[in-house]
């Protein structure tokens, strides 16, 4: 009688399966899940930290999910949450935190492990300033700032001193013009070597917002962060300076040579603005590149500014549901944000330790590549984003309106400010 046999087999299988889960649940081992997006240097560093942590805490096992590419990371989190699975500790871009707090996805860091005094005393100012809705929601291992990369070989070939990078914005333009080469007329499409290519989709929207704008005497937002203020005379001047590389100076474009970042890594661009995380990319993809790093050029007002940002670890609602897992998660979080973890991180990823003690280490400050980034931490600004990707899109579109649509820089900024203001207003409207 095959029917009954079939059902009997099914019943046995189901019984076995449930036995298995009971056996797992009875185990003393506490298992917590940690998620970050796939970036090889970070994955390797975190694997090392997890191995150290597990050796110190034999009762805790950390499952490391690092298979998700950057482009899908938010999708996967969004898909996992309703299914009741997902991370206990998750690494998010700092600019995403308000959206995740808004959704109730993160719980505040426990006061006893991460008190305000502790954070203010030990962490980089941009972390200390990340209080939102009266609490700290996440804490990083490392922080980054922007600096200027220059290709020494291109400088030398163009007759510039390969050891003295541009110090101010005028020098920057002059060096970009001197290093651009064309095959034929002076046209973006005929460029064979770029002086500088502005790429708003990468880091240049930060460069404009937090650096150029301030150097021209403007400010991106009002002090409470709720009003867009870059659509000003100063904003126009700063934005025109940036768009001119493509519309006037014709020194490069993100549309050619495989994109601005790759073009620099491949040795086709003289000047590039990027974060310290790019050091690892260069080491992996083009270790021969003869480049230097310097602090961002000073502006017309002689001031130095840079944009600071970080990927930061938060505790999820899911971990908070189970006291044992929450305890393990907090322990893990303390471990991976310690100065020692920061030191391990800077050596393998190139990002600077978030704990000020480790970041201002003399070896780091003296390092010709890391030093300029470390110096930048003192004058860095981390934008408060309500929707990082939408706010970035606003400036990408403004830039495209100027370079592709022939729009005036001031008009493009006015349009951008109106759209961004609406984003900010709707975020706060939902919260009040």
């Amino acid at each position: 009688m095959r029917f009954t046999k079939l059902f009997a087999v099914l019943a046995v299988l189901i019984a076995l399966a449930s036995l298995g889960s009971v056996a797992l649940a009875q185990d003393d081992m506490i298992e917590i899940e940690y998620w970050q997006y796939n970036f090889q240097a970070r994955v390797d560093a975190m694997n090392e930290l997890i191995a150290q942590f597990e050796a110190e805490n034999p009762g805790i096992k950390v499952v490391h999910n690092s298979d998700i590419p950057y482009a899908n990371f938010r999708d996967e989190l969004a898909a996992s949450a309703p299914a009741g699975v997902g991370p206990d500790i998750v690494t998010l871009f700092y600019g995403w935190i308000p959206a995740f707090v808004d959704a109730g996805y993160l719980v505040p860091l426990p006061e006893d492990a991460f008190s305000e005094d502790f954070i203010l005393e030990h962490f980089s100012p941009m972390v200390a300033n990340s209080k939102f809705e009266g609490s700290y929601w996440a804490i990083p291992t490392a922080v980054r700032s922007l600096a200027m990369f220059w290709n020494k070989d291109i400088f030398a070939a163009a007759g510039l001193d390969p050891e003295s990078p541009p110090a101010n914005l005028d020098d920057f333009v002059a060096a970009a013009l001197a290093t651009t080469e064309y095959d034929g007329d002076m046209d973006i499409f005929n460029i064979t070597q770029q002086g500088h290519a502005a790429a708003l989709a990468s880091q240049d929207h930060h460069w404009f917002r937090e650096v150029l704008l301030r150097q021209y005497g403007g400010a991106p937002y009002s002090d409470d962060g709720r009003t867009v203020t870059y659509n000003s005379e100063e904003g126009c001047a700063a934005f025109s300076w940036l768009t001119a590389f493509e519309t006037e100076h014709m020194t490069g474009s993100n549309d050619i040579l495989d994109g601005a970042t790759n073009a620099f890594v491949n040795g086709d661009t003289a000047l590039h603005v990027d974060g310290s995380f790019r050091i690892g990319t260069i080491a992996r993809n083009n270790p021969e590149l003869n480049y230097g790093v310097a602090e961002l050029p000073v502006g017309p007002n002689g001031e130095r500014h840079t944009f600071g940002s970080y990927w930061t670890h938060g505790i999820t609602r899911r971990a908070n549901d189970d006291p044992a897992r929450l305890e393990a998660a907090v322990k893990f979080l303390q471990f991976i944000t310690s100065p020692a973890a920061g030191t391990l991180w800077v050596n393998s990823v190139g990002e600077l330790p978030a704990q000020a003690a480790a970041a201002s280490d003399e070896a780091i400050l003296a390092d010709p590549i890391l030093g300029p980034f470390s110096a930048g931490l003192a004058y860095s600004h981390a934008t408060f984003f309500v929707d990082e990707s939408a706010q970035r899109q606003v400036l990408i579109d403004a830039f495209d309106n100027v370079r592709l649509g022939g729009m005036d820089a001031c008009e493009a900024l006015d349009e951008a400010a109106a759209i961004e203001q609406e984003l900010i207003d709707s975020f706060w409207a939902d919260r009040e």
Binding site: A78, A81, Y105, A201, D255, R317, S389, A390, D400
Partner: protein, 316 residues
């Protein structure tokens, strides 16, 4: 499963219900059919219906609770469409452009090609395969190849333009040229399918009609206009409906061909489905994204009904 009827008949002999061979066959057939049906209902129909419900909520997938907001998402959609410029408005306009340009061009080209393929005898299978091949190739792979072809300076098309001393074109980097650039890929890729269906339709037309027309001295145009076209009508309706739906649902080529899958530059290539994806998964506005899918669903439904009514006339 093949069973021994004698053995099980004996085992069931003392019960009221008898597992005859025929009964068992039917039961097994239902069991096997139930698996895909349950799967389909759970994976396709339930989520589709769930989208209607989601569109009435402020649905954030990360949140523990999803508050009911009535028609707020639809009001927001109307607001967005009434703006001078908005990504949602661009998505609807572009989708309409893809559809109104894409379907007629694709079907006309496919019909011309299938008429020619229908004539040739030498190497006809080879030609058919060549036209059908793009359809069975991965869209993402094709999109990336096209992306390379369109590249400035080193892309094949621009290299050829330079060879004949024509100015280079920005293609995907230009707000004006990006949509036609994406569209040509979609037309080319989907055409093989239309060609095969047209060929099947042409084969259905009895030879005798053409012979009779020839005897009557009808011109080639008249033969096409009064025999081929009317008799192909069911095929044309079928393709029109199918291709319309596929153009309305366009997503993958735009995602793969534009910078960071954003549907740019300046929303020039974005589509309604890409908008749905970005709203749902990058901005976590799943409720609003669902309201977009519901509107798209209604559009598809209306267009399909109209097309069936208008074009499916009886042939005399």
């Amino acid at each position: 499963m093949i069973d021994n009827p004698d053995k099980s008949n004996r085992a069931n002999a003392d019960k009221g219900f008898r597992w005859t061979l025929a009964r068992r066959k039917v039961v097994w057939a239902y069991i096997f059919l139930a698996i895909p049906i349950i799967f389909f209902a759970y994976i396709r129909i339930y989520p589709a219906l769930f989208a209607f419900q989601m569109s009435l909520h402020d649905y954030n997938p990360l949140a523990a609770e999803q508050p009911y907001v009535g028609l707020e998402n639809y009001e927001k959609l109307l607001d967005e469409l009434n703006k001078r410029k908005s990504p949602t408005k661009a998505a609807f306009q572009n989708t309409a452009n893809y559809l109104l340009l894409g379907v007629p061009i694709q079907l006309c080209l496919a019909l011309m090609i299938s008429l020619m393929l229908n004539e040739i005898r030498f190497m006809s299978t080879f030609y058919r395969i060549m036209f059908f091949l793009p359809f069975v190739t991965s869209t993402i792979a094709i999109a990336w190849v096209f992306r390379m072809l369109y590249q400035p300076r080193f892309g094949l098309i621009n290299v050829m333009l330079q060879l004949v001393s024509l100015p280079q074109q920005p293609f995907l980097n230009s707000p004006k040229q990006a949509l036609p650039s994406v569209l040509s890929l979609v037309i080319w890729q989907g055409m093989g399918f239309a060609v095969i269906i047209f060929l099947a339709g042409l084969k259905q037309i009895p030879r005798t009609y053409y012979e009779a027309a020839e005897v009557d001295g009808a011109s080639r145009w008249h033969t096409f206009r009064f025999i081929t076209l009317p008799l192909l009508n069911p095929t044309i309706v079928f393709l029109l409906v199918l291709q319309t739906i596929s153009f309305l649902r366009m997503f993958a080529p735009v995602l793969a061909m534009t910078e960071q899958g954003r549907g740019g530059p300046l929303d020039a290539t974005t589509t309604v489905v890409l908008r749905v994806y970005r709203e749902a998964f990058t901005s976590f506005n799943m409720g609003y994204a669902s309201s977009l899918t519901v509107v798209l669903f209604v559009f598809i439904l209306i267009i399909t009904i109209i097309q069936l009514r208008v074009t499916a006339r009886r042939i005399n």
